[in-house]
Amino acid sequence: MKIRQKFITLLLLIGVTPVLVVSVVAYLSFSNALLEKTTDQLSSTAIKQEQRISTYLQTRQEEVTKIANQYDLQVLIRQYLNDPSEQNKLALKTILQDKKVEVSLIESMFLTDLQGNYLVSSTDDVEKETVRGIKEPGSGEDTSVSVRNDWSDGLSRVYITSVISVNKKRTALLNVVFRTDELVAIVQDYTGLDETGETVVVDDQNKSLFPLRFDTDASLKIDLSSLGIQSLNGGKYHTAIDYRGHEVLVLSHQVGLSDWTVATKIDTSEALASITLLRNTMFLIVGAAVLVIIMVAIYFTRLFTRPILEVSRVSERIGRGDFSARADIDRKDELGTLASSVNTMGRNLRELIGNIESQRQRLQVILDSTTEAIFAIDADANIIMANRAVVNLLYVDPNELVGRNMKDVFKWQHGMQDFIVDYNVEDVHTYASLQYVDSKGSQRYVKLIVARIIDESYAGKAQAIVTIHDETSSHELENMKTDFVSMAAHELRTPLTAVRGYLEMVQYKQRHNDPKDTDKYVNQALKNVSDLGGLINNLLDVTRIERGTLTLSMSKVDIASEVINAMSDLKFVANERRINMSYDGAEANCFVVGDGVALREIVNNLVSNAIKYTKEGGSVAVSLQQEGDQYVVKVKDTGMGIPAQAIPHLFTKFYRVHGGLASGSSGTGLGLYIAKSIIERHKGTIGVESTEGVGSTFKFSIPVFTEENYKMAQQATDDNTDDVAGNITARRNRGWVTKNITR
């Protein structure tokens, strides 16, 4: 059950229970009181009626007894009984008529003997039928009362029979007939009774003696035994069904001086009407009260549970990770405190989570900034996490790797053989120089470190951390260096071999006294020695560039003449290969600040490369133009061209387009590297545009001479001249130095 239902239930219990208890108690006591009042009313009416009837009957009996005790009547009765002559009978009749007159209410009087046999009557009309059933009052009783309706007019009458004793001896019965009007009036006086109240009088046979209130047409002697009057104990009421079939409350009283019983009764519906009304009112009040209580309960429940529910909702949201959730409750009570505590908790959590998140992000940044690819893997080598650096190895988003298996992601090779890496190591295991072929088909060289995770609490999630260090570039550099050493040896050995060959030839000729061609051999040998020197200087230049000690002799130089001179040095080679070499540009007076010898060497290098890579019959076109504040030298060939992927590496050290040693083409791969370094020292740029199979155009630019440039260059030269032998001028001068010696 939710708190709101509980709260409402509680409030309802608290509110409704007393109302119900009070209502029930009030109802019970009020209804009892009402019932008592009703029964009291019935009872008092019954008593009152009974008294009036008793009084009436007593009066009448007294009157009758008084007549019966009159001496003259007794004398005449004795006379008549002794001599039942007409005369005596008439005398009796006359005296009865006289006596009747004395009591106004008497309708008639007649005499019977003790057996009830008719003797004489005050009137003539009731003579025959009315004497039936007259009985002598019981022993000890002098009078008896009965009600009869055996007259032809159908009206009931009260008969009072009194014993006439003559000389203390029961002699005859005096029967006095009274009209019942007065009794009926008494019985039908319903004063004190409500609308359905009624008084009935029954004899000892439960027969009604008087007309009934609700059935005036009914004859007398109606059987009212259903009311159970006889079973009543005085004063107690009970419920019964009356002659109309109504449920009634009944109360009765024995009437004195007769075997009559007076019963008062009232319809239960009326008697209980006020109780029903009370009950209904009670119901209404209780209902209204409960309704009010429910509303109050709901109101208070809302009042109290709203903040609780709000706080609960907010806590739940916070629990779900929505730390921005706040309870909007402005209260001064404990609930307000609770809400603000939860809010504070939310804020603190947010801050905490924020801190954790920023720490996590910091770690992630660190992880992602690391050039090593890092994988966290589980015991089955499934990837749980990968950092950003894996992109460089696999060209896929790190998230796509999660869930995949290391064994599927990497197919390792070692020394060109397939190799299985054990990712389930005890401690740390390093696999040096592993290879795999990446998705772009390139061979990659890596160092792989598998480290078991030490933290036991994390071990359930990740088993090991795999770090992959991509050594491809350093491996390539290593290869290039190795290649370079081999290449350098090769390049040095070649002129050396030639020198040796030529000298042996000369030696051979001399031994055989054949001087022919010896001069030529010696010259060729010298040329090769010179090449050897140039080669060695190139190597030294690289070293100087690396060490930053390459010294250039900066002066005002005519770049045009340097280009033309460089070309003329190569005219012979070009002719030999039947390559058409052309020059387009000024013949002189294109001044720059630079090292003339170095610049000439660069042009020489570019042009000889162009010649080298151009087929016989091709052309090499050199041009010199001023573009803005730059002189631009272009060397365009119709050679084999350079693959696009090679161009970015062209000016790097040791790089050789056709793959170094394996390709069979010679060269140290240093020329363009040196050229770039020197051009950059001249504040210029060098670049190439090339189409494979069509040709290449190398171009470099150098700022046009200005006094300012010149001063700056001089300054730079002075700062840089600390390597005695290390400058190009010295080299060009065949090893002897003329200037720029500072010590």
Partner: protein, 128 residues
Amino acid sequence: MAGLRKILLVEDNVELRNIYEMFLKHRGYDVVTAVDGEDGLQKAKEFHPELVLLDIMMPKMDGLRALKMLRHDERYGCTKAKIVLLTNLGDASRVNPKVKEDMDGYVIKAEIELGDLIDIIKSFENQE
């Protein structure tokens, strides 16, 4: 015995080619020259040399590829010929085993005198 007389010299460096050719011819050998690997294969087909002196670093086709083809491809008629790698690359003690299988000798040019070439040729003659 007649010995080895027909020599194919495959060498891209014009000067060395000239020197070796001149020297060998002077010693009475029948010498044909080629300027690169492809040229060498072509010349081998026509000339059927008994000995091939093969440079390694050459344009178009390098010596190692040429060696493999000469040794294993019947079309060039050199599967039985002596093939000596004549180069300035690397050193003789560290030749790739696969290459070693195919070649009959590995000579660093810079380290021999011209006369040594004759001794090498003679050593093959003695084997015969």
